[in-house]
Every structure is written in C-alpha cells, then in structure tokens.
C-alpha cells in the first residue's frame, strides 16, 4: 500500500532527510521517500496513517491532512504562506533598515548622511546600543520560527537550516547584549562591537530569500495546478427528460450528461447521441479538435466545440483520465531521480558538518589572533553562508518543472528515474503496428488459387471475426466494406504471432503467416515470388488455407503515420539509433523501415520475444527505450530501460511504461528525450551551483582567503549570498518552463 502524505514545517533538505529517516524506521514501512520541493512524503508498506502521522510529528513536523478540496486548500494554504512571508519580510525590513542605518552611518561619516545627534555612539554609547536592541527585537519577533524550529531541531539532534540561522544570529545578539552590559559598566569602546544589525539584516535577508523561494516553488507546480484547474465544477444531467445542473461530486456512473457547444465535458464517458468536435488539447497537446459521434469516448475537462451531445458517464472522480494524469504527474513530481542521491546524502550530514566547521574555524582564529570579535564574526559567517536548501532544491524543482512541462505537451513522465534514464538512451525500439504505422491496416491485394476472391475474403474474414488483432480486423473491415456477409465461425483459435484457425461453414480455415504455414506443413512455392513482391511494397501478406489447401493470399497494408519519418530523422540528428520490432516478415519490415528511415529491423519476432530482443540490445551495453502501444508490448516496455507507451494504446501498455505519450504522434519521442536532456542538464547546473556555492562560500566565510591576504566575508553578505543561492537554483529550474518542442 502506498500513501502520499503532505508534510508541514520542513524548512530545508535536512528536514526532509530527517522525516525520511523517521519514516523508514517505522515498523511496516518498506520504503519512504520525502520530497522537500513538493512537501510530500511517499510511504510504501503496511504502516497506518496514524502511525505515519505520529512518526512525522515526533520528528518535529506536521501532517497536513488532505480533504476532497485538497487542491483549493493547498492553493489557499500556499497563498497564505507566501503572504505571511512577505508581511514578515516587510516588517523585518522596516526595522532592519534603520538598524543597519544607525549601525553604518557612524562608520561612514564621510558620506555625510543625516544622523541623530542623540545617538552619537561616542557620546551616547548606551542609548545608541539600546536603540539598536529595540530595533532588533521586532526583527527577531517576526523571525521567531527560525528559533523555535531551529533550536527544537538542534535539541532533537537533527539540526537544519533554521538551526544555522538561529545559532548564528543568537551568537550575534548575545555577544552584543554582553557588550551592551560592558558599556553600561563603563567600557564605552565596546560600542564598536555591537552586532545587532548583523543579526537583523541576516534575518531580513533570509526572510526575503524564503519569500522568493516560496513564490518560485509555487511556480514550479503551476503545470499540475493548471491540470487541476481544468476539471469543471458542475455537470448537466438528464433525468426523466429534464436537464438539471448538479455538482460534479454528485455525478454517478451511468448518468446521462448533456454538453452544449462551448461546454466542458465533466466526466469520462461514451457518446450516446449527437455529433461534435472536441478540443482535447488540454489532455493530449493536440491542437486539432477531434470528431466525436455515437459510441466514441469523451474525456473530462475537454471542450465541446460545435454540436450538442449526450453521453453516458463511464468514469467519475479519481477514475477519469484527467484524474489519472494528475495523479501520474503528482507522483512523478514527488519522485526522486538517482542523480539526487548524492545531494540527499550530503544534505543529511550537511548542517552538523557546517556547525563543526564554524566552531573549528572560530576556535582556530581565536588561537591565532586572540581576537574574540574576529573569531565570532567568522563563526557567524560560516553558519549563515552555508545553504543546504540549494542542495535540496536542485533536483526536485527541475523535475517538477520538467515533468510539468512534459504534461503540458502531452508527455507524461512517470518519475524522476525515467526522466533521468531517458537522456541516456542509445537505441529506441519502435513497435511497428500502431506505433510507426497508423495501426489501421486495410486490405490491398487478394490473390487466389482456384477460388473466387469474394468467397475467399468472406471465408477468411469470417474466421478473423473473433480476432482482436489489427490485421484480422482489417480483413473483416475489408469484407464489410465490400458488402460481404460473414458467417459465424466455430472452434476459433488464435495462435499468437502466427494467425487464426476456425471452422467456417463446415470448412477448416487457417489464416496466418509463413511461420504458421510451415508449422502446418503447407507448401508455399506457388506464391513465393508474389509474397516477396508484396512484402517489398511494405504489405503484410497472409496465407489463406481452406481444408488443408493453400487457397490464396490476402495482403494488408498499414499506412505509416505522417510524423514517423520526421520523428526518426530527429532522433538520428540527436545521435540516437532506431530499431523497429515486428512480427512481419523481413521483407515487409524492411520496406516499412526504409520508408521511415529506421536503422535496424527486428522482423518476425513473436510478441513474447519482443522483451528478449530488447534484452539482447541491452546486452550490447546500450540503454534501450521501447515505444509501443499494445498489450503484447507490455513486457518489452517493462524490460526496456525506458518504456514509452503511445496514447492511443492500451491501459496495460501505459501501466508498464515509464513515459506515456498522450498523442499518437512519434515526434513526441524526440521531444521527450530533449525534455529529459534539458531537465538533467538543468539539474546538473543546479547541483554544480549548489555544491560549488557551499564548497567556495564556506571556506571564504571561514577566513581562508583572509589568511592569504584576501578579503573577509561580512556575515551580512554571507546571508545575502545564502538567500540568493536558493533563489538562483529555483530561477534556473524555472528556465525549463521556456522549453520548446
């Protein structure tokens, strides 16, 4: 059982690591993963919600219970959080700016800024110090959470970013109060050693950083909010011939729903009357409206453009395609990519290590200089410049934006791992039917041997009537189109990867490929050259055997999707090898592959062997993606490093896949790879920046440059740098929103 829990109170990646550890220790939990960016925990196992909640609370955090209106509540909560943070920042700035002013102006008198004579530090030292104290109090008051959360985490032996801020600013304030006491006792020179403004400006800058971070974090999940916002709130239901508008929650499966032109389809269903065109772009990314008539499926949140229709509700609530997509994208955004592992490990130990470095640096400088002021400045600067947030945000924010951007384009990426693996793909194996081709083959040639063509087609199509294979259905359609009447077949047998066998009108009819003929010991000599010609034209010839005699060939051709050659070319331009896998004979497969520009052909492959073919490619040391749509593609999709199911495919294929393309357009495959590459590049940039920032910033703050005659970092600049580091990582992640197909 998997549970997704919304967690409150996490301020940095160290918090997420702590909650994750606490959950993983819980009895009955197989695996727990906590994502700082989405503020969600994913718990797999038998632990109850109450046990999970208790563990989270014991770790010092809270569980935000989700209700039916979770989307709205979450939005309201986020908006409130951002508003409160901005108010706190403004209040803090109102006091911190004058605090900084009175602290700095006496030091830069040459600028000749106005300054109250009654606060001259050399004349009124204690009043001056008291004024600074009074100004810092409101700043500390609005930043009280840094202290309550930070010190609590420290007591729980799991310090986080708030702990660093709390320790750093407390040291600054405590030392200043001590000096104030000294001033009160006549040591007026200590007026030069007040650090209230350092603490005040640090808190203000961190609050500014947190506000910007909250806004940016909100923007990373805009895609999912957009999806959630698509769902209509009401539906018009037809009851006893009367139309009645009801809440979407009250719609039941089987209800007849009326949708007028311009209206939104409220739930998934099947059209029972009327004809229209429906804009499905919000689900598939396809801009052209799709024609719908009786019997066609309609999906929640799509827009009815032209005619009025009535449809029967088939799927409601969490079962609709939209809800499934939202769930899939949400899960993906909450998932972790393997590339994040290093950052997660570092985040877990980061804060205690930084505390240690700060203490050691402070002690070392004190031993070296005997200057307590200097040592404490170093101590504060190291604590304040360290930024675990940037590390924690580097990967999940890019994944959120990347998967969100994919969803906007009809590319559903199921998780961080899939996203990461996709960028490494060397070979893409395409299923032929329904993937490279339209999957709607038509009868092109009927070649007979002592039998009427229509008679042969009638017998063959009657045998294929119960087949679900696209080729079989094409033959049936061909017969129906010709107006032939079909006979109910008996003893129908479908032989996977070979063909069908049935009794039709007392005759034993076998329809199948070369392999099946070989197994049935049917001599093919008379038709070999014809078959070869048909195959070279990309047609699929099927042998028809009536009562043990080869009666003819029915050739079926599947039209290639117009976008397939373009997609293959794009993949080649990206340096990706392409392969096509099919049960067709080699000649037919080669003909199709040549038209599409595919490099490698894997022909005459039985459905159950598709996964093996993928495995063989993997054995060559290649990262393999498989693109398919059918149930028989599911094992190969699962075997591939990345399984890509196309939207017109089956639920099983989509379930097995790592990426689902909502449209049946193969150009989305190179788009998915490009998106993956862009996201991974973005993650690497973020990680480089986050690691680089801390690796460079901490030694500078510790005074390494100063040791060699370089500059010393003021804690105020350290706080500014720390705030900017998180914001810069988020801003970089948001650049992915500009990704274009």
């Amino acid at each position: 059982m998997q549970q997704t829990i919304k967690i409150g109170g996490m301020s940095c990646a160290a918090c997420a690591a702590r909650v994750e550890r606490a959950l993983n220790k819980l009895d009955g939990v197989e695996k727990a993963s906590v994502n700082f960016a989405t503020e969600k925990g994913s718990v797999t196992g038998d632990a109850s919600f109450d046990e999970i909640k208790r563990a989270i609370e014991q770790a010092g955090y809270s569980v935000i219970e989700q209700t039916k209106n979770a989307v709205d509540e979450d939005r309201i909560r986020k908006e409130k959080e951002i508003r409160v943070l901005w108010i706190k920042f403004i209040v803090s700035a109102i006091f911190a700016i004058p605090l900084l002013y009175i602290a700095m102006v006496p030091m830069i008198k040459w600028v000749r800024l106005p300054f109250p004579a009654g606060l001259d530090p050399m004349q009124y030292s204690l009043i001056y110090a008291l004024a600074e104290l009074l100004l810092i109090i409101p700043v500390i008051a609005v930043g009280y959470k840094f202290y309550t959360v930070g010190f609590k985490a420290l007591l729980l032996k799991s310090p986080n970013m708030d702990s660093l801020i709390a320790i750093g600013t407390t040291a600054a304030v405590a030392y200043s109060i001590y000096n104030m006491w000294q001033i009160a006792n006549g040591a007026f020179a200590q007026v030069d050693h007040l650090y209230f403004e350092t603490a005040g400006v640090i808190i203000t800058l961190i609050l500014l950083g947190k506000s910007l971070e909250a806004v940016s974090k909100g923007r990373t999940s805009e895609a999912i909010k957009k999806l959630m916002g698509l769902a209509p709130k009401t539906a018009i239901v037809l009851t006893d011939g009367v139309e009645k508008e009801i809440k979407i929650e009250d719609v039941k499966v089987g209800d007849i729903i009326v949708v007028k032109p311009g209206g939104k389809i409220p739930v998934d269903g099947t059209v029972i009357s009327g004809k229209t065109s429906i804009d499905e772009s919000m689900l598939t990314g396809e801009s052209m409206p799709v024609g719908k008539k009786e019997g066609d499926s309609v999906f929640a949140a799509t827009i009815n453009t032209t005619g009025a229709i009535q449809f029967r509700a088939d799927k409601i609530g969490a079962d609709t395609a939209l809800a499934q997509i939202i769930k899939l994208v949400e899960d993906a955004q909450g998932s972790k990519a393997p590339i994040a592992q290093m950052a997660d490990i570092v985040s877990g130990y980061f804060v205690p290590i930084v505390c240690g470095i700060a203490v050691l640096a402070g002690i070392a400088w004190f031993i070296g200089t005997r200057d307590f002021e200097f040592s404490i400045t170093i101590f504060i600067a190291v604590l304040v410049i360290a930024c675990p947030c940037a590390l924690g945000l580097a990967t999940p924010t890019a994944i959120m934006v990347g998967t969100g951007k994919g969803a906007e384009n009809g590319i559903l990426i199921k998780g961080g791992e899939a996203l990461e693996t996709t960028h490494k793909i060397d070979v893409i194996v395409f299923d032929k039917t329904g993937t490279i081709t339209e999957g709607k083959p038509t009868v092109t040639d009927i070649i007979v041997n002592d039998i009427d063509k229509d008679e042969l087609l009638a017998l063959v199509s009657s045998a294929e009537k119960q087949s679900e294979h696209p080729l079989g259905q094409a033959i049936v359609s061909g017969a129906v189109d010709k107006g032939l009447s079909l006979i109910d077949a008996e003893n129908f047998q479908s032989l996977t990867g070979r063909g069908v066998q049935a009794q039709v009108d007392g005759k034993n009819v076998i329809v199948g490929n070369k392999k099946m003929m070989k197994e049935q010991n049917i001599e093919l000599v008379d038709f070999e050259s014809t078959v070869l010609t048909l195959a070279k034209e990309g047609k699929t010839p099927m042998y028809a055997v009536i009562d043990g005699t080869l009666a003819g060939i029915v050739a079926v051709a599947d039209v290639m999707k117009p976008s397939s050659p373009d997609a293959i070319k794009k993949l080649h331009d990206m340096g990706v090898e392409t392969a096509m896998i099919t049960g067709d004979n080699l000649d037919t497969a080669n003909a199709i592959a040549k038209q599409a520009g595919i490099d490698r052909v894997l022909a005459e492959v039985l459905p159950q062997d598709k996964a093996n073919e993928v495995k063989k490619l993997q054995a060559e040391g290649k990262k393999v993606a498989m693109v398919g749509d059918g149930i028989n593609d599911a094992p190969a999709l699962a075997q591939a490093d990345v399984g890509i199911a196309i939207g017109s495919g089956t639920d099983v294929a989509m379930e097995s896949a790592d990426i689902v393309l909502m449209k049946s357009d193969l150009t989305d495959v190179p788009t998915a790879i490009n998106l993956s590459r862009a996201t991974i590049r973005n993650i690497k940039q973020n990680l480089f920046w986050a690691f680089g920032y801390n690796v460079i910033g901490i030694p500078i703050a510790a005074g390494v440059l100063y040791l060699f005659g370089g500059p010393l970092l003021n804690p105020i600049f350290a706080a500014a740098a720390m705030s900017l580091s998180s914001v810069s990582v988020l801003t970089n992640a948001l650049r992915l929103k500009r990704f274009k197909k």
Partner: protein, 178 residues
C-alpha cells in the same frame, strides 16, 4: 513571539534594575572630571576651569609666551582665552586614549582620563591624567615652529574623522596628577 517579547522586556528591565542611567558617558565624564578637579590639574602654562556641572561656564587659557618664542608673529591670530558654557553635547569620549573630552571649538580640546586610578596601567596612550589639546594650524600659519614650542609636544593623535581613525597633528600639554 510571546517568549521573545518577554525576553526583550526582561533585557530592558535588567538594565533598569542595574540602575543604569542611560547617559553613561555623560554621567561618568562628570564623575571623572570632578575627581580630577578635586586633585587639581592646573599647570602654570595652561589652565581649565569649570564647576563640573552641565550648563556651567568654563574657561580655558594658556600662556602664549612659548608660542611667541617659537615664532608666533601675530598673537591675535590665535585665541588663548576660550570661554564656553559646557553642555552635554560638548562632552565626548576618545576611544583611543580612554579619555573624556570637552570640545572647545576650532579643533581645541580639553581631555581628562576616564579613570585616574587605573590610568597608566592600560598602555602608554592613556598614560596622562589631563591633556590640553590645541589645533596647531593657526599657530603654524602665524609663524610658529611647531617643534620648538616649550612645554607643548607637537605630536600625532589618533582621532575619529568621519568614522575612520586618523592620525592628525596637535599641540599637546599633558599633565599627570599622581
């Protein structure tokens, strides 16, 4: 939030309880001056008189003769008899010397040690109980050779100028009570 407000109030209360008058510099400057005044600090070449109370008149005089001997060609170019009413804003604290001072105007000062009892124990800069400080510029402009003024040292003093400790030249006449 409440805890922080309580803490803030407690800090303020603690300072109040300690009986601290907030103008610690002003109060202590008066105490130190009165202590020194009781000991007597006048020298025969310079004198500062003040009753040690804010609002009280003060008079600073010095003997012009050593300057004349050093080349002063116009006695009217300098003011050897300075009068002022001492207000709180005239009193300052000289960090580098650990002295209080009264600003006499035009760069002239009268300084006295913050603590006569400990003065001289914390470094050579503080090793004077009373220092008369004159701005040398008008003297030099009037022909004085600053290195030849009997009884007055021509020396650099660290003062705070626009927030930066700066060494500037002054005529100094220090005096130790002990």
């Amino acid at each position: 939030m409440k805890k922080i407000m309580v803490l803030a109030a407690a800090v303020l209360f603690a300072f109040s309880l300690a009986g601290c008058s907030l103008d610690v510099v002003g109060n202590d400057a008066l105490r130190a001056y009165n202590e020194i005044a009781q000991s007597g600090y006048n020298t025969d070449k310079a004198n500062f008189e003040w009753n040690g109370e804010l609002g009280g008149a003060a008079n600073f005089t010095f003997d012009i003769e050593p300057f004349t001997a050093a080349g002063l060609n116009d006695v009217n170019a300098v003011n050897a008899d300075i009068n002022l009413v001492v207000e709180r804003e005239n009193i300052g604290y000289h960090t580098a010397m650990d002295h209080y001072n009264i600003d006499l105007g035009d760069g002239n000062l009268f300084e006295w040690a913050k603590d006569v009892q400990t003065n001289g124990t914390t470094g050579e800069n503080q090793d004077k109980d009373v220092v008369f400080v004159l701005n040398p510029e008008p003297f030099i402009a009037a022909g004085v050779d600053p290195n030849n003024v009997d009884g007055w040292a021509y020396a650099q003093v660290s003062v705070d100028i626009n927030g930066t400790p700066t060494d500037i030249w002054k005529f100094l006449r220090p005096f130790d009570i002990r």
